[in-house]
Symmetry: C2
């Protein structure tokens, strides 16, 4: 088992291929306790996956050495306060290897007990099948879906650089943490990680250090069957610093030297290609057999024997390992103390910045910020909701300094940039500053959403960014994780329907609103006018644990008679009331004013009384008291929904649905609306059919249900 | 205006930076008629966007020179038969520049008139805002959403290589066409294109030649604000051949030499970096001002004057240009004739292959293929539907030789590979053949779906491929285009619910079924047993113009009493009938058998009679006659839906809904099912509540509606 001992030949750093200068820091020799710690991590992963009869032992066994060096030699953190603002961040992008992370968190003294490890992948445990940020102390972001963690790490590194640019002052290096990220071949293949890597290279994120687990194995076996590109050359093309550690299984000195080298490259993100043996120590090491299946019983025993552990015992941690790691944890706690003292001193010299920072870290918005939200009267001009959104940003960016905006190369279309915005850019480009609050994401929607998840997780900024609603779908994988990991990010999703006109069906969303409404813990807002747009921002900014998608129009919308921020933040409200109504028309966004015109037309041409409800956000309306909901959608009156998109989901709030269950058309938008009958006449026709259909039937409000959903 | 004339210095090929050997073919000098043709294309784009007051003139004006050289000097096609199997394929991945493509199609004599050009971006025209394959002759794939076309081109090139490997014989080079693709900075930034490029490099697709429009401009202005990577170095890292043409505006000889060079590199895909001036000839050339807005009237006139056209006239084509292009078209028609003769001769020597090919090109499946579909009796063992899917593939792969399968690195989990499958790989790897029918897509879900769109568009294969249902969401952008462009692709989407168990919420779809059910022209199948799985494949394979997503379980499912292929292909059918039922339970996939158990339990414990409907596919059920649908969901009986996913959309088929409008949980799957009450008891409780709620109310079937939807 030659692979289990250090290579005989070559000095400690002989295996590092260097692209840059190596630092001068002396590398201390590693000893038996280091090996013991590494093997303890490996065996905990073996034991937990075996006990669960489920999980991925291979990556933890292969990456235990680099984890040990990174966590114990480099990373600053305090397990007793996982929220310390300047802690080093760690992201396990290959999240299936989470027993590695759980083992580390336990060993260093986070609030994760041995019982938690024993409950790996069990119901309601703190150790689920992939790391979830909101449930487990020390987990920064929710990973598992491949490529996401890598892009999150880019977001965390951007946030660090932005915080440093904003708050650091001479003598006050408040934000200088590193962001470390492990990723595997799967992440390296995913487009979201490619996009994020290109962005990170452009942004010269020197405090981002990633480690690529080059184990040559993915689920289909040898990566050579699908993945023969030169990964390091690709990262160089992105502008990254690259290093190769050839023996990631044993050569701790080389690992340490590589990380040290990367720390000294301050104008580029770094990637260390770490060649490892997946499932190191198993009979099946180096094969796909250890990737996603627990080791067999005899193999577990074999591994333990090999590493000098008692093969009959499980979940054993030698006290030396606890001691070693707890010592490092204590050093981290001391560093936090120092930092806290620095912060106190900062208060005396930089009071305003100090108070702003402390407030931001508390998660509270500035007192009274909402007074800056624009309001509108019915007599105000018709304005596209993308422009109304711009007006909100223009008004609030000064009072909410933590708001950072951006766009996936559609700035002029998304209207996401306030007039005096400064771009977040390395200053040497001459087009922005580290403290800039506007991000140029490039045409990279998926990375944008995943980077925003990282930005939000850092704690000092609230990210918003734009693309067309249709292309939020490119980012579906990341938006899902925003919702699951409960972060406050805002998607400014313009061009939200066939109302975008000439660009045509390739750009006109049909299924998109339904898709994200079906996603748990995600607010989809489709405001109908200025006050509703302000309401959408109000809710998006005050909902600390929920992402929002604001679906906004390209075309102009009139200001409604009865809209107010107060009404709209209930998710749905009565926009036109009428006693003895024969029908309720419920609608969103650009179709609300057409529905109101239809109500007028129904009265004038048919003598039929119609109420109109504007419902900018299902999720928020769902959360209202039943009594309120029944006021909006009372018993006895049939409800017709109107929205220029898929009708799917509207059945929940209406008896009959008028929508678009087909693709749109390329033409000037008014013609497209006419083609599909989203006109007062088209609505009236269907309202009359609805009234007729329910004549003589008892009509119950769709709010009344036989039972409650599990939430 | 020095940029408008050829550079004075340097020979014709001096601007080509070569990475490989250049071919010996003599380059003929270009003449005035070439310049005239190029400027005609530019001015048609200017005129059409100006008339529409909408569109993107910049890319057509910049890429007219390379289009002219490519289409007139290299490409083989017959405008009178856009379906010729061995035609060269052209994909405009930067689809917003579609006036370029429409102008070319018109000038070469495709069925696209000058009136069609004048109707650019108008209602129901053949010239929509972005190219749509099904509406416009000569458009191979639907593009516009950035990055997609590039990945489609990779699919077209794979299909060509696979067809060549399958059908070419000594003396019969039936399939040797090139796939050409234009793409811009936006496509280069998109992850889907990065994934596809990595795959294409691995697969050594020598007949793929792409041209990167390096104009330095995207919507946010200079690409330097977000995109400073070395694109060519990145493509080299992927294993591509790269060439740079420095003056893409004028140097036609260099363009020709570059394409010729790429044609001679047969073991790598190629990319030509073509440095151009966006909006060449406009006052705003080289700026973002010409990207997405028509030129102003005076600028239109200026361009015309500059190019020697009458500034007062619009939509003018000099006869010499028609003559030149029609001559090339005639040469293309002659080449098709030669090919047809070759094919006839092939019939005499290779009868079986010939007949197979002709049948495939007709779009017809082999007679009687469906007899190979496995069927099951209720007494057969419980089997996971992913395994049932494997059984289908095992049975039908011999009788449907055009079926190609694959997986995004989840082969063993998706069960997509039949036992004796051969991988599609360059033979030199020693792990497959060009004729192989199993694709190793790598962990690249988005590219996989987009590549499948290209495969399907080629005409000789039907693509199927696997990932987890949750990760079909990564591919949402491409799946949407499958539906819009009406191609037959099959997503084998396993691990389709909380039933996947331990992997937990990061991998458990909640919103996914709803999302794709809301997508028009997309069949989402969720079979409950073996016969339903066979039915899903039957419909997926026989629906020539509709993509399918087959949602399949990880866990075992019993064979139902009343399931048959014939019933299931109606989309929904009565799985358990019962006279005088008090409730109908409607369900899909893994929940159907639990609903059946609930019906038994309701009878035994509560004396309540319940019917059970299995509804494996909404879209197909929707298409049934109303009479049938009312038999399945009759008036008078309240309907309760049961599905372990978002309830959104189920309101269309049921009065009450039992589902999961929250994220799942990581645990052994039976415990997860119990936690969320997807048990006979949990269903019974809700069925009783439903019956109670509707007691004394007249109950209409959800099939009865006040009006029809626009389809």
């Amino acid at each position: 088992m030659a692979r289990l001992v250090k290579p005989a030949a070559g000095g400690p750093r002989s295996n590092v291929l260097r692209n840059g200068d190596v630092g001068d820091a002396a590398i201390m020799p590693y000893s038996e306790v280091d090996t013991l710690a590494i093997n303890t991590i490996r065996i905990l992963a073996v034991d937990a996956t075996f006990k669960a009869n489920s999980g991925h032992p291979g990556a933890p066994m292969g990456m235990a050495p680099v984890s040990h060096v990174l966590f114990n030699k480099f990373m600053n953190f305090n397990p007793k306060n996982p929220d310390w603002a300047n802690r080093d961040r760690f992201v396990l992008s290959n999240g299936h290897g989470c027993m590695l992370q759980y083992a580390l968190l336990h060993l260093f003294g986070y609030d994760l007990s041995m019982d938690d490890l024993k409950n790996f992948r069990q119901l309601d445990s703190k150790t689920p099948g992939h790391p979830e940020a909101h449930d487990t102390p020390g987990i920064e972001v929710t990973t598992g879906p491949l490529g996401q963690g890598f892009a999150n790490a880019v977001g965390l590194a951007i946030a660090q650089a932005q915080a440093a640019g904003t708050f650091n002052k001479p003598g006050y290096d408040l934000f200088n943490n590193y962001t470390y990220c492990f990723f595997g071949d799967g992440c390296a293949m995913e487009g979201v990680a490619s996009e994020a890597a290109s962005m990170a290279g452009h942004l010269k994120l020197g405090n981002l250090i990633t480690i690529y687990d080059d184990n040559g194995i993915s689920i289909d076996g040898d990566t050579k069957c699908a993945f023969t590109e030169d990964v390091m050359k690709r990262y160089e093309a992105y502008g990254w610093h690259t290093v190769h550690v050839k023996d990631g299984d044993n050569d701790l000195e080389a690992i340490e030297a590589a990380i040290r080298e990367c720390q000294q490259v301050i104008d580029k993100p770094s990637v260390i290609k770490l060649t490892t043996t997946i499932g190191f120590g198993s009979k099946l090491q180096g094969t796909g057999g250890v990737h996603g299946n627990p080791l067999k019983a005899d193999d577990c025993q074999g591994v333990k024997s090999l590493f000098g552990f008692n093969p009959e015992e499980s979940f054993v941690v030698p006290q030396q390992v606890y001691d070693l790691y707890h010592q490092h944890a204590a050093e981290g706690a001391a560093k936090e103390q120092e930092w806290n003292q620095l912060l106190q001193k900062y208060a005396s010299e930089h009071k305003a910045e100090h108070d702003d920072l402390v407030r931001r870290l508390s998660g509270k918005l500035p007192e009274g910020w909402e007074k800056s939200l624009p309001t509108y009267k019915p007599s105000d001009a018709a304005i596209a909701s993308r422009k109304l959104s711009e007006a909100v940003l223009e008004k609030i960016h000064d009072v909410i300094p933590e708001l950072v905006s951006g766009s996936a190369d559609l700035t002029g279309s998304n209207n996401t940039r306030w007039k005096n915005a400064v771009d977040f850019q390395p200053p040497e480009y001459g087009i922005g500053e580290w403290s800039g609050r506007y991000l140029r994401y490039g045409v990279r929607e998926h990375a944008m959403a995943a980077v925003m998840n990282g930005l939000a997780a850092y704690g000092t900024v609230i990210p918003a960014s734009g693309t067309f609603l249709n292309f939020v779908s490119y980012a579906a994988g990341a938006v899902r994780l925003s919702a699951l990991s409960r972060v406050r990010v805002i998607h400014v999703a313009t061009h939200d329907s066939i109302g975008l006109g000439e660009d045509g069906p390739t750009h006109q969303p049909i299924e998109t609103l339904t898709h994200f409404r079906a996603l748990p813990n995600c607010m989809v807002w489709r405001p109908a006018d200025g006050n509703e747009t302000s309401a959408a921002y109000y809710m998006a900014l005050t909902s600390k644990h929920t992402p929002s998608i604001l679906a906004l129009t390209r075309q102009n919308l009139p200001q409604l008679e009865n809209s107010t921020i107060e009404s709209a933040i209930k998710g749905a409200y009565v926009a036109v009331d009428a006693p003895n109504a024969a029908v309720t028309l419920i609608s969103t966004g650009s179709e609300v004013s057409i529905a109101i015109d239809a109500a007028t037309s129904l009265k004038e041409k048919h003598g039929v009384v119609a109420r109109v409800v504007s419902a900018p956000c299902f999720e928020v309306f769902d959360a209202q008291p039943k009594e309120y909901k029944l006021q909006v959608l009372p018993d006895g009156i049939p409800v017709l929904s109107i929205e220029a998109a898929s009708t799917m989901g509207w059945e929940r709030y209406s008896h009959e649905q008028f929508g678009l269950n087909r693709f749109g058309a390329s033409a000037p938008y008014k013609q497209v609306y006419e083609k599909f009958e989203f006109t007062p006449e088209g609505i009236s026709k269907r309202a009359l059919a609805t009234i007729d259909f329910y004549k003589g039937h008892s009509v119950r409000s769709p709010i009344n249900r036989a039972f409650q959903q599990i939430l």
